[in-house]
């Protein structure tokens, strides 16, 4: 709309005198200055520093310290941030750095940035396509925007629901714990036969340390009341559980795991992200990765539990599993309730392994599934590429601690969320060894500003065929 006002102000004749490349924007000051100079009056640089003869304007020699006297040439390249404005009638207008003017490269579809006849005029050709693209994009962003609003509303309810359920489950766990502690106390000796061969006690040690209580895993916290009932017995008790834990870890977190992977492994009981994270935080500082992944941890067959508490334990595990799953979901909405809709979303895309595995000869033609669970794990084929590790800015997600590359670092991934009507995974690229970046389109990333910018762009394209100069 500003543009219309501007045209009325100038009138058609003046418009033709308007210097090529000058901005159409809110430059009333500039407008006056150029009007004056076109009438042969002195020109004052926009910063007011120097007053020039009218013949010094656009004479391909930079006179103004702010570069404002040369809107049509590159003379002030690097000085001015006013740049050069291509009108691109019939297509989208474009702003260029002044350094692009007269540089032998056609940047504007109307050819205005290069000497006459230097560039073919292609605005008519590309205009409709540009318009269609902008419109399609506008449509998409609008839809995304609507969805986002919807998600914001729904998210609120969903989060309340999840929170309530979490509290309920937490209470259940507490109840179950009392039962189990009772069981353990009632039949101490019999209960722990066969546990002596389970390995080590870093977990137990940690669990014992009151200082670290708040850092220990849910799993441990749940087991700990046992340990606190008496140092000797409880140590065995915890050890027994730790044994199971170790076994699970070696199966789920170990980088050299088999093809079924950890997601499948723990989904029923724990989200394995929490399991591995806790494990690494707890154990790794005191315990070499090597030693646990290869240690002779307790196999499921050897796992021993007091019979009387077995059903309680199962129930406990299942409850804990649901609790973890909920906690993971709640992590997804930490930033905003609207992200709830992605809490359980996994995206898959087939891609060439070549993009992601640099130096494996002969792997070039293989196509593999890249599977991204937005607040969970990332897998590429059978390889783990990392687990959700928090937000990176407003629209970025971080995934870390994937499997180590052969001889390289642990794989990691960054996701950039872009506005879109649907949630889809775009390109995946390896930016440095085993560090990946990908883009995901999703409604939650749609901001009002996206729509406004598009509307502006569209307005410029759509409105201008009505311009008087269009016929020339």
């Amino acid at each position: 709309m500003r543009f219309v006002v501007f045209c009325i102000l100038l009138g058609i004749d003046e418009f033709q005198a308007w210097p090529l490349g000058a901005h159409f924007g809110d430059l009333s000051k500039h407008t006056q200055a150029f009007e004056a100079s076109s009438l042969g009056l002195p020109f004052q640089c926009l910063d007011g520093s120097v007053t020039l003869l009218s013949s010094d304007v656009n004479d391909n020699f930079c006179d103004c310290p702010d570069g404002s006297d040369e809107p049509s040439t590159a003379a002030c390249a690097g000085l001015s941030n006013l740049g050069f404005y291509c009108r691109n009638l019939g297509s989208a207008p474009k702003w260029l750095y002044a350094s692009r003017v007269n540089d032998g490269v056609c940047d504007c579809c109307d050819g205005s940035d290069e000497p006459p006849s230097g560039c073919p005029s292609s605005c008519d050709k590309e205009g409709p396509a540009v318009l269609a693209r902008l419109k399609a994009r506008q449509q998409e962003v609008r839809q995304g925007q609507l969805l986002r609003r919807q998600y914001e509303d729904e998210g609120l309810q969903q989060v309340v629901h999840w929170t309530e359920e979490k509290e309920r489950l937490a209470a259940d766990v507490a109840d179950l714990m009392t039962v189990q502690v009772g069981d353990a106390q009632s039949s101490p000796d019999r209960a722990f036969v066969g546990c002596s061969s389970t390995s080590t006690a870093p977990f137990y040690t940690n669990g014992h340390d009151k200082e670290q209580r708040k850092d220990v895993s849910e799993y441990t916290r749940w087991a700990l009341p046992v340990s606190e009932t008496g140092p000797h017995r409880s140590s065995q008790s915890v050890e027994c559980w730790v044994g199971e834990f170790i076994n699970a870890e070696s199966f789920c977190c170990d980088a050299s795991q088999g093809p079924q992977g950890r997601q499948e492994c723990w989904d029923e009981v724990y989200t394995f992200q929490s399991c591995c994270k806790t494990w690494q935080r707890q154990v790794l500082p005191t315990f070499e990765r090597q030693s646990w992944s290869t240690s002779e941890s307790v196999s499921p067959e050897r796992r021993f539990e007091p019979k009387s508490s077995k059903s309680v334990s199962r129930e406990m595990r299942q409850t804990k599993g649901r609790l973890f799953s909920l906690e993971s979901k709640l992590r997804a909405v930490e930033r905003s309730h609207r992200w709830f809709y992605l809490a359980d979303t996994c995206l898959t895309r087939q891609t060439h392994r070549r993009h992601t595995e640099l130096s494996i000869p002969g792997a070039s033609s293989e196509r593999v599934d890249f599977k991204l669970c937005l607040f969970g794990d990332v897998r590429f084929g059978s390889v783990n590429y990392g687990s959700f590790d928090g937000w990176d800015g407003e629209h970025g997600l971080r995934y870390s601690r994937g499997q180590h590359c052969p001889g390289g670092p642990a794989r990691s991934l960054k996701i950039c969320l872009l506005c879109g009507a649907e949630t889809e995974l775009l390109d995946i690229a390896e930016v440095s060894l085993c560090a990946y970046e990908a883009a995901v389109k999703t409604p939650g990333a749609c901001e009002l500003s996206n729509l406004e910018e598009l509307a502006d762009d569209l307005e410029k394209v759509i409105d201008r065929p009505l311009m008087p100069l269009d016929s020339s």
Binding site: A75, A77, Y97, L358, L433
Partner: protein, 947 residues
């Protein structure tokens, strides 16, 4: 790219076992003591009574050489007849060349073909007046600039003195360290025709035959690092010393070594053996990727006169050079160097100077002038191991545009190929490479692809099949021992083990009729010498198979680039219809061309591999392998796009590489020490004729922090003629736009300054191509009369000149450790800060540092050509107006400068003189303080007329 990388799982495991933490693995690389010929040579030069004459020039044998100059026969005191031939050439530009070879060797002693290092035809001969005096032959001549010079050949012991203006600058074999091992038959201690063969152990002959604790290890075979080097031709090394006379404060040169500009006098000799050194260290005489064995000397003579001279040792086999002093503190007085090479012929050139400018001119008169690089090659190069896809390339390109940062060239490293079969594309990541490169071209930018010389062994790979079928691959010898066919059983050899007992007689009771004829009983033959076997020798015609080694693709083969037919074939592969996916804006990077062989001895080709071209052993040509690779590529690009200036980047190089290629200092490290060392390394290389040179900005290994990155750019834009940003695969991205805004703006400002100064750089390259002036050079080159430039640590190691006009002081410490720098401004009429124009008198100045710039000063009295409109690439700026900055000499009010202009990209400048080279003389007509606006206008007029 370094050696130990992920090749495959198997290789990885092998590699990890030897992977050093963060330093070069010394055990992999030989020292002088670990190599038999260098060890022998050290023993040889420490022999008792070394001063006694062994080799004598026979003046009566003097004969003119067909190519000009003279030859003399040289006789060893312990040989019957002369066996060596000394050739002496005196070139008009001011050079004395002395060569020594065998007259009739058992095997051909490898000589570099004419034109490959020394120009063909060789430089014009000087007008010489000769005189023979007792014991010496004197050759008087004048250098190109008219200075009187003499070469005096002393007959016994053989020695050569070169003097200028009556002052002796260099003396060859001054300390009688000459060694020349003639070929000999297998396992023989002495070559044929040696005196006193009756007692071979007592003959004092050469380093491989003398009575002073001779070390015979490694004469015929030599193990190192799990490989055994077979030497069927036996010892053939040679060596000699040279003394630089007068008071010699500093020696320079000897590229490529990661050492100081003023060459340290290490205990360990400097080594020349082109190698792929993983994570090389600074301040080391260890060998690196290339070899230009040149020493520059400064001689302070009587009467306050200071002159400069050069010494070149032309030998492509492994070479050691040891720098020595007479004084225990290693300072002042004459300086000495001894040299020893594994094989070939002795070929030395004394460049008599007497100024640095004439030494450079003499060097290029001998080896040829460098070509003008395309202007774009002086712009910013953006490289990384690796940009992974077409989209990746397009993104990097557009990000530069987004921030309006200029750059000219984007590079792809090895990952773009189909399984490291060069000339191919990974179709998944680069489905439409031609379109990708065309898009780069459309922005008037260029593209560089890596093509390494190792060839993937893959039946599907056409280059492999074709080179194999043509028989061009370097061969491996399957050594086996056979009976020596020349060895015949001596006539008097007794082979009977039993003889009839001569003492036995027929017993009297023997009845012949009943007992039959009496036969004496058999006894052991006392004269029996044992069964005769011919002596064993190496099979003279052993089986030859294609040599296979490991490199990026796995099993790889190595073409014999010394063969002109192979080079022709290689060059033809760059034709646009052969190398699909490329366009005429695509140029080539030859990496790994030492050659790098991951599983070879010292990570390179075994010395006993055979080049089918002339059946030359690899040891004879090793240091030239890389040179032949990049030359073949250059000549191929020349044919691909006739008239265009080729661009090739090479890691390995030799004397003369400057005629073909840019080089970079290999796989450096993101460390302050590497930043600083690059000043000396670039300076040494430019003194070796190689002006198109640079180090990877920001280092290759590891990741520089923002401050190091900024400092590196600030230095590089001013002193690296070849300006490339590169990074290891495992490092985060480091393109200028990935940093925080402040850092990005500082890098951008540096790059803008580089582009602004492109006219100056280009003009300096014209001075290099036409007048042999190094583009960047240590301070002594321009300020020889200022003794501070010979010995002031800061002036030598932190500072360097861009042309004769700009002095740059690198900052190689973080601001937390260094807040100010002492800049030494040599004796001149004054200096102006490049940043704010502040005037400074010569002398030491303390410069307060900030992060926005490093100290740099224009010399007063110079006119600097610039362009003020910084665009996205150099081609985009080609038609823009020039800006001339005038830095007046405050005493005279005058300034001089040059400006060179041509079409920036074709070779027409060589043929039809389509160029404009103008000297600019500015004299301030009025008083000082003339309005700048006025001066500017008048210069624009001048330029218009010169177009």
């Amino acid at each position: 790219m370094e050696v130990v990388r992920r090749m495959s799982w198997v290789f990885l495991i092998l590699a990890l076992t030897v992977l050093p933490a963060a330093a070069v693995d010394r055990s992999k690389f030989r020292t002088c003591e670990q190599g038999s010929f260098c060890r022998r040579y050290k023993k040889w030069i420490s022999r008792p009574e070394r001063e006694k004459a062994l080799w004598t020039v026979l003046p009566q044998t003097r004969a003119p050489l067909p190519e000009g100059g003279f030859s003399f026969q040289v006789k060893h005191v312990n040989e019957e007849t002369p066996h060596l031939l000394l050739k002496l050439n005196i070139y008009a530009s001011g050079m004395v060349r002395m060569r020594i070879t065998e007259i009739k060797p058992l095997h051909i002693r490898h000589e570099i073909p004419p034109g490959d290092v020394v120009s063909d035809p060789p430089p014009a001969a000087a007008k010489v007046s000769e005189a023979d005096e007792s014991g010496k032959s004197i050759f008087k001549f004048a250098t190109a600039d008219g200075t009187a010079a003499e070469a005096i050949l002393h007959h016994s012991p053989l020695a050569l003195e070169v003097s200028v203006g009556g002052q002796i600058l260099q003396r060859l074999n001054a300390r009688n360290m000459l060694n020349f091992e003639r070929y000999r038959t297998p396992k023989e201690r002495l070559p044929p025709d040696t005196a006193s063969v009756a007692a071979p152990d007592t003959v004092l002959l050469d380093a491989a035959a003398h009575p002073n604790g001779l070390d015979t290890n490694g004469l015929w075979e030599e193990p190192f690092g799990g490989h055994t080097d077979q030497k069927p031709r036996g010892p053939a090394s040679l060596g000699m010393d040279v003394s630089f006379l007068g008071d010699v404060p500093s020696l320079f040169g000897l590229p490529e070594h990661a050492t100081k500009a003023s060459l340290p006098f290490y205990q360990e000799p400097y080594r020349f053996f082109n190698l792929d050194v993983f994570e090389y260290e600074i301040d080391e005489p260890m060998a690196l990727y290339g070899a230009i064995p040149i020493i520059w000397a400064i001689h302070r003579l009587g009467g306050g006169q200071t002159v400069s001279s050069g010494f070149l040792w032309i030998n492509p086999s492994e070479t050691f050079v040891k720098l020595e002093r007479d004084t225990p503190d290693g300072k002042g007085g004459p300086a000495h160097a001894w040299w020893t090479s594994e094989s070939g012929v002795l070929d030395t050139v004394v460049m008599v100077g007497p100024t640095p400018k004439t030494v450079s001119a003499q060097f290029h008169d001998l080896t040829g002038h460098g070509p003008m690089p395309g202007l774009w090659a002086l712009g910013k190069h953006q490289c990384r191991w690796n940009y992974m896809s077409e989209k990746d390339v397009a993104t990097v390109d557009s990000m530069y545009d987004k921030y309006d940062i200029p750059y000219d060239t984007i590079w792809l490293d090895i990952e773009h190929t189909d399984g490291k079969a060069y000339f191919s594309w990974n179709a998944a990541a680069f489905p439409n490479p031609k379109q990708m490169i065309d898009n780069i071209s459309a922005k008037r930018r260029k593209f560089v692809n890596v093509v390494d010389p190792h060839i993937k062994k893959d039946e599907k790979f056409h280059v492999y099949r074709e080179v194999r079928d043509k028989g061009f691959f370097v061969k491996k010898v399957s050594y086996k021992q056979i009976d020596d066919p020349t060895d015949v059983k001596p006539a008097d050899w007794v082979e009977e083990t039993k003889i009839p007992d001569p003492t036995a007689t027929q017993p009297p009771e023997w009845n012949t009729e009943e007992d039959g004829p009496w036969v004496a009983p058999q006894i052991d033959n006392p004269a029996y010498k044992g069964a005769w076997h011919p002596r064993k020798v190496n099979d003279p015609t052993p089986d030859l198979t294609d040599f296979e080694g490991w490199c990026w693709p796995g099993t790889s083969l190595y073409p014999d680039f010394t063969d002109p037919a192979m080079r022709e074939y290689w060059g033809s592969q760059f034709a646009l219809d052969k190398y699909t996916g490329t366009n005429a804006d695509t140029y080539i990077w030859n990496d790994m061309n030492e050659p790098s062989v991951f599983n070879g001895p010292e990570v390179t080709m075994p010395r006993d591999a055979i080049h089918p071209n002339g059946m030359v052993e690899h040891r004879d040509v090793h240091n030239m392998y890389g040179y032949y690779v990049h030359r073949a590529t250059f000549e191929g690009l020349q044919k691909r796009t006739p008239g265009d200036r080729p661009f090739v980047l090479t890691r390995s190089f030799f004397i003369g590489s400057h005629k073909y290629s840019a080089i970079w200092t290999g796989d450096n490290y993101a460390q302050w020490s590497h930043l600083k060392a690059s000043i000396a390394m670039v300076g040494a290389l430019t003194l070796g004729g190689q002006s198109l040179v640079g180090a990877d900005v920001g280092g290759f290994f590891k990741h520089p922090d923002t401050e190091m990155t900024v400092r590196w750019y600030q230095l590089a834009v001013l002193i690296y003629p070849f300006l490339r940003n590169h990074a290891h695969l495992e490092t985060p991205r480091r393109e200028p736009y990935v940093f925080d805004e402040k850092t990005m703006l500082r890098i951008k400002a540096s790059l803008q300054m580089r582009y602004k100064m492109l006219p100056l750089w280009y003009t300096l390259f014209h001075r290099w191509a036409s007048a042999a002036e190094p583009v960047v050079r240590p301070l002594f080159w321009d300020f020889l009369d200022d003794p501070q430039t010979h010995e002031n640590e800061e002036a030598l190691e932190s500072q360097i000149m861009l042309g004769d006009s700009l002095l740059v002081h690198g900052i190689a410490k973080p601001s937390s450790e260094q807040s100010e720098a002492t800049v030494y401004l040599p004796k001149a009429s004054g200096w102006y800060s490049i940043h704010n124009g502040a005037f400074k008198a010569p002398g030491a100045h303390v410069h307060k540092l900030d992060l926005d710039s490093i100290p740099a000063y224009y010399r007063a009295g110079t006119v600097v050509p610039l362009k003020s409109r910084i665009r996205r690439s150099s081609a985009c700026m080609s038609l823009d107006p020039f800006t001339l900055n005038v830095y007046l000499n405050p005493q005279t009010g005058a300034a001089k400068g040059r400006l060179y202009i041509d079409d920036y990209r074709t070779r027409t400048y060589q043929d039809v003189g389509l160029l404009c080279a103008r000297k600019i003389d500015f004299t301030c007509s009025a008083r000082l303080g003339t309005r700048t606006h006025h001066a500017k206008a008048s210069f624009e007029e001048t330029l218009k007329s010169s177009h």
